[in-house]
């Protein structure tokens, strides 16, 4: 059993709408690099971080192709974080609020390595056993 500490994060912003999303992923990346187990609950619009049908796009206004645009998708960033944690023998438990994704029609096509859950699961499984918790609320 790893003795690494566990940090838990609650994310609420939908991706592509707030700099909070980028900052949250940067903090989670830093936690994994520093050897922490990480729990995440994606609540409200944040369940879209891991929606698998996100696609990079071209920009016809600028005349750039998909390759030139290099449009980042949060599903790929989260998948990379899950892989990075696994590569270090750490846990990244990415829980998606089931009711939130039901409301938004995002309950299908979620990426592997994430799971649906409830606010109770967040508290019992992620907050209580964690060494520290940060809530990043939406505005």
């Amino acid at each position: 059993m790893s003795t690494a500490k566990t940090l838990t994060f609650l994310l609420m912003d939908a991706p592509y709408e707030s700099a909070n999303s980028t900052t949250a992923l940067r903090i989670i990346d830093a936690a994994i690099r520093k050897g922490y187990h990480v729990n995440v609950t994606a609540y409200e619009g944040a369940v879209a971080y891991t929606y698998g049908l996100q696609k990079p796009h071209q920009n016809p206004i600028k005349g750039t192709t998909v390759e030139q645009e290099k449009h980042p998708n949060t599903k790929d960033w989260v998948a990379a974080l899950i892989k990075a944690a696994q590569g270090r023998g750490l846990k990244l438990d990415w829980l998606r609020c089931g009711m939130c994704e039901d409301e938004r029609g995002l309950y299908e096509n979620q990426i592997a390595g994430t799971r649906p859950g409830s606010p109770v699961d967040f508290y019992k499984q992620q907050v209580e056993p964690a060494d520290n918790v940060l809530v990043i609320p939406c505005r």
Partner: protein, 108 residues
Amino acid sequence: MAKYLLIESRDPYEWNDVSYFYDLAHGLAREGHDVTLFLVQNGVLPARKSPRSGRLADLAQGGVKIAADDFSLRERGIAVEALAPGVRPSKIDAVVDLMGEGARALWH
């Protein structure tokens, strides 16, 4: 004495309630707690010497450690040399370090 990590993501020119968060940092430090105010996103805007940065200098004099996310500074073209007194650039890793040390973390 407890350790606190207050993360300010908002621009005080846009959000008046930022001053309340500064007040919280000041009050906690005044009561003897170890307080870090971590500026990120548009929260770094007053870190550049300006009429609003005086408040940050006051907080620093009051014992609050003030860190500004280096990535957010670069995004906004704020050079380290332009930072107000009492503000130091910091990597986002500092948030993780403080959380790992048990700091009570609040995001605004």
